[in-house]
């Protein structure tokens, strides 16, 4: 039984290890280097936004995310979306360095929110997995699930 539980816990680790990042974007041949970098940062920020919104949508649908918490994350993401839009406006106005800084900074915030959301789900699952009366736990011949990705 101990072995089985360990296998179940470990079975999901490849999902973390194989977490795909956004593919390497090609350089544009027509854009100057600063514009290229700025646009790549904007693309990357948009990709992070897409992942985070999608995460909330599918999480709420599957019941993994509590709706009120999901709405709070959604609203925060909307604020970040406005920052990405500001980066795009700066890009369109030729402020490539400002656009790059704004987009890269916002992407970091989006990823942080996404990481926090995942951590929150992990903590929630861990709490529910360890909610047993003490006497039952002492009799249980199994190991507690390892905190995956911790």
């Amino acid at each position: 039984m101990k072995k089985l539980l360990t296998i179940i816990a470990l079975a999901f680790l490849p999902l973390l290890a194989a977490c795909p990042s956004v593919p390497q974007l090609p350089d544009s041949k027509t854009l100057p280097p600063a514009a290229n970098l700025a646009l790549k940062a904007i693309v990357s920020a948009n990709a992070a936004l897409d992942v985070a919104y999608d995460f909330i949508g599918s999480g709420v649908r599957s019941g993994a995310i509590e709706p009120t918490q999901g709405r709070a994350w959604f609203n925060t993401l909307d604020g970040y979306k406005a920052k990405v839009k500001a980066a795009q406006d700066a890009y369109a106005a030729g402020g490539f360095d400002a656009a790059k800084a704004q987009a890269a900074g916002t992407e970091a915030l989006i990823k942080f929110l996404h990481d926090q959301a995942i951590k929150s789900l992990q903590d929630q699952a861990r709490k529910s997995a360890t909610f047993y009366p003490r006497e039952e736990r002492e009799d249980c011949p199994c190991v507690w699930l390892l905190p995956i990705g911790a």
Partner: protein, 70 residues
């Protein structure tokens, strides 16, 4: 199998499913971007497509939240 152990296994599977939700969405966007690159789109075109996709994901999440009353 005793009920406590069975429940523990079930919780382990639930945790895995929750993580799959997270990484599943990351994989989806990576596939989308790779597809746009493979089509030979310019960076501007890739960004336009991606921005449209962000709107779609946002609206989808908004609808899911509204369906649950928030």
């Amino acid at each position: 199998m005793d009920p406590a152990t069975a429940e523990l296994i079930l919780k382990g599977i639930t945790l895995g499913a929750q993580l799959a939700v997270a990484w599943g969405s990351a994989e989806k966007v990576a596939t989308l971007v790779q597809g746009l690159i493979d089509k030979g789109l310019t960076l501007e075109q890739i960004n336009d497509e991606l921005a449209a996709h962000v709107e779609k994901s946002r609206n989808d999440a908004d609808r899911a939240l509204k369906d649950r009353g928030v």
